[in-house]
């Protein structure tokens, strides 16, 4: 768990930084995360002006462009509330790279440092700040969890997702081989080195499927886009009409498992 989460008190208000991937491609995951947080009695504020953390440009070697986009996000969180991000990757960018990004801009760097101390990855926030213990209302099922590299190595929150799922009494979480290995997304890596990225996601999907789990959940939509994108492509190649590996954001899964009259 992150150090800061251990020392935090339960807040009444938080900011939700959805990330551009969730806003455009997985809005349901964002909505479910917000619903879950609100159900825990938290007022969730969604700054309308938010766009993207700037990571795509940053990791592609264009820090100036990333800085421009990041500078805009710095202005969005004036109150001293936690900023919850449903992605280890984007959270890692804001928490660990913003201060470096503004190393030559003292005013913004101070802002970035202040913001950094308030940024939480979603599952870390649930477990370590809210002490959230989901009550499972679904029926028996087996799933598999994919943890993003940024959540694991940058945010050091690779255990919180497993902990949340472990609280669900009817859910068995299978363990895939090479569990800690990257799915091969890596932003522009997937475009610039498609052969290697493709081999990585192929292996990842094989490992996930080999567990026999009925679905994959992850706290990062970037990985999901890649993993589910490949799984669906493979289904199409092999003429399957139902997805062999469905998947969703952990927020959606948790919300569904804990709602009344849930079937799964």
């Amino acid at each position: 768990m992150s150090e800061q989460a251990k020392n935090s008190q339960r807040p009444t208000d938080i900011y939700f930084f959805a990330t551009c991937v969730v806003d455009q491609f997985y809005p349901g995951a964002g909505l479910d995360a917000i619903t879950l947080l609100e159900r825990e009695g938290i007022r969730v504020h969604f700054p309308e002006e938010q766009t993207c953390c700037g990571q795509p440009a940053y990791t592609s070697g264009f820090p100036d462009e990333a800085r421009k986009v990041a500078a805009h996000q710095l202005t969005l969180f004036p109150e001293n509330w936690p900023v919850v991000v449903p992605s280890g990757s984007c959270g890692g960018m804001m928490k660990h790279h913003y201060p470096k990004l503004f190393a030559n801009d003292p005013a913004r760097q101070a802002q970035a440092e202040a913001l950094s101390s308030r940024v939480y990855e979603f599952t870390d926030f649930l477990v370590n700040v809210l002490g959230y213990q989901p009550e499972d209302k679904g029926s028996d099922c087996t799933i598999v969890l994919h943890t993003s590299c940024a959540a694991r190595r940058e945010m050091d929150v690779h255990l919180t997702g497993r902990q949340l799922l472990g609280n669900l009494s009817h859910v068995k979480v299978a363990l895939q081989d090479h569990e800690s290995e990257c799915c091969g997304f890596g932003g522009t890596f997937s475009i610039k080195q498609p052969e290697i990225s493709g081999a990585m996601v192929e292996d990842k999907v094989k490992s996930l499927k080999a567990t026999g789990a009925e679905r994959v959940v992850s706290a990062d939509c970037g990985c999901l886009m890649n993993i589910l994108g490949h799984a669906a492509w493979k289904d199409k190649q092999e003429g399957r009409s139902t997805p062999s590996l469905p998947g969703e954001h952990i927020a959606s899964f948790l919300l569904r498992r804990t709602e009344e009259r849930s079937s799964k």
């Binding site: 809005p27 592609s60 080195q193």
Partner: protein, 480 residues
């Protein structure tokens, strides 16, 4: 302006064929499986050596500190090393370029009318392509590390810095030996194959005129060259022939002998999962008059070859902390998929991506840094905590941003494309402005169905990306 390409630059152009080479391996299920198996083996071996996470982390911190401290004093301790070695009777040579290093080594060989040079494992000698230079000078340079020997017999290059022949199966090696080693029967028994290598190479040690080796650590205060190995060929190469030539990069120096134990422990445990290597060989001088064996002449060649360029930049200098354990490649999902040869450089894998640009220039290596998902596995296992992912991002920046004055690296801007830069500028224009962001993403959500079904490289193995019909912000509004 870019620094001009020095004449000595080797004609490696690893960037050029990188994608094609990696594709070839990725599409070979047999190679894929064997690399995966070998890397899994090394990963498992390493983990058994570090059962205590606190011990590992504190030792890594100490290792990082030792390397950074010694780099901080590098010019001083290089001079101290030279003084001590000279006092001990070792000849010290300095080379800025591979050509200079080759000229020094071949000069020594020629002075002794050498015909056969037997080589202990040395990645620096691969870096300067010593074998080619020796061949051109009429000197037989023979590798004696089993893996290197196999690779040399096959006319190939090492595919891993610690396990040079890891891309070969025992059946391939059996066939190779049968074809290339006179007077042996075919066998694919590993013990028997090793015995064949042993017997061939022992005869070479016996008659070699020159022994060449690398160096794992050079200790300044004592004037000592340290070599880590399991086979004993390093000891043979540095003990049996009358002349020993060691070659090392200028960064591998430590000031004090007491700096060695932590680094040695990190090196062997990280590299092959051994608590120590079979041999740790500390050479502080040639044979003394009353001694009965050991070389009568010892030389050390200190090679720069771009290291001083990395040294000059505070962030890039961290590259030089490396102790060449290879753990970054063992844990790299990219290396695991494509193996060492695809990189086209002497040093493959994550360390190869960050060190090669200093040796070969970004002109030749600009795209290498793109072959990483920045997953961070390399940085996580690095025993001296080199922030490899950060360095990869830095190299991307140096490669792709427009050429500018006083670049930190040779070949800065070599991968610059006005189109790509323009795309990122446009991206920043949209994403820094809430208005344009809202507009563009609104269009995306409304006309997502217009997204093409072929989306370049993405859709070679994935279904196309389509924005959701409603954005999160729309859903929140509707919800009220």
């Amino acid at each position: 302006m870019n620094a001009p390409l020095p004449e000595h630059a080797l004609q490696f152009m690893p960037s050029a064929g990188f994608r094609a080479r990696s594709k070839e391996v990725v599409e070979n299920p047999f190679l894929r499986k064997s690399f995966r198996g070998a890397m899994d083996f090394l990963i498992d071996k390493r983990i058994t050596q570090f059962p205590d996470k606190e011990e590992l982390e504190s030792l890594r911190t100490l290792g990082e500190h030792i390397r950074q401290y010694n780099l901080g004093k590098l010019p001083d301790i290089l001079e101290q090393l030279e003084t001590r070695l000279t006092e001990n009777g070792v000849h010290v040579h300095w080379a800025e370029t591979p050509d200079e290093a080759n000229a020094i080594i071949l000069g020594i060989c020629q002075k002794h009318s050498a015909k056969l040079m037997i080589k202990g494992k040395s990645m620096v000698s691969e870096e300067i392509e010593l074998n080619h230079a020796a061949e051109a000078a009429g000197i037989d340079a023979m590798e004696s590390d089993m893996g290197e020997y196999i690779v040399q017999l096959a006319g190939e290059k090492p595919s891993h810095i610690i396990m040079p022949a890891i891309h070969k199966t025992k059946e391939e090696i059996a066939k190779l030996f049968y074809e290339k080693v006179p007077g042996i029967d075919y066998t694919d028994n590993v013990d028997a194959l090793i015995q064949i290598g042993r017997n061939v190479l022992r005869e070479k040690f016996l008659v070699a005129d020159i022994g060449l080796s690398g160096v794992n650590f050079a200790v300044a205060e004592t004037g000592t060259l340290c070599l880590v190995e399991n086979e004993g060929n390093g000891r043979m190469s540095t003990t049996v022939p009358p002349v020993h030539i060691a070659i090392t990069g200028i960064e591998k120096i430590v000031e004090k002998l007491e700096h060695v134990p932590p680094l040695l422990s990190l090196l062997t445990r990280s590299a092959t999962g051994q608590n120590i290597s079979t041999y740790f060989n500390m050479i502080s001088g040639p044979r003394k008059s009353h001694e009965k064996d050991g070389p009568t002449e010892v030389h050390l060649v200190l090679l720069d070859n771009g290291r001083s360029q990395a040294y000059a930049d505070e962030q890039l200098r961290k590259t030089l902390q490396c102790i060449r354990c290879g753990a970054c490649m063992n844990h790299c999902p990219v290396y695991t998929r494509i193996g060492g040869h695809a990189y086209g450089t002497t040093y493959p894998g994550p360390i190869g991506k960050i060190i090669s640009p200093h040796m070969l220039g970004l002109e030749a290596t600009a795209t290498m840094a793109t072959a990483s998902s920045l997953c961070g596995a390399c940085g996580e296992v690095c025993p001296v905590k080199i922030p490899i992912p950060d360095l990869l991002m830095r190299l991307r920046e140096e490669s792709f941003t427009a050429p500018h004055a006083n670049p930190a690296m040779r070949g800065q801007g070599a991968g610059y494309s006005a189109l790509v830069t323009g795309i990122w500028r446009g991206w920043a224009f949209v994403y820094r402005s809430p208005f344009w962001y809202r507009t563009v993403t609104w269009l995306g959500s409304r006309f997502g169905w217009l997204m093409p079904s072929k989306q370049g490289p993405w859709t070679t193995v994935r279904v196309p990306l389509k924005p959701a019909p409603k954005r999160l912000r729309d859903m929140l509004k509707e919800r009220g």
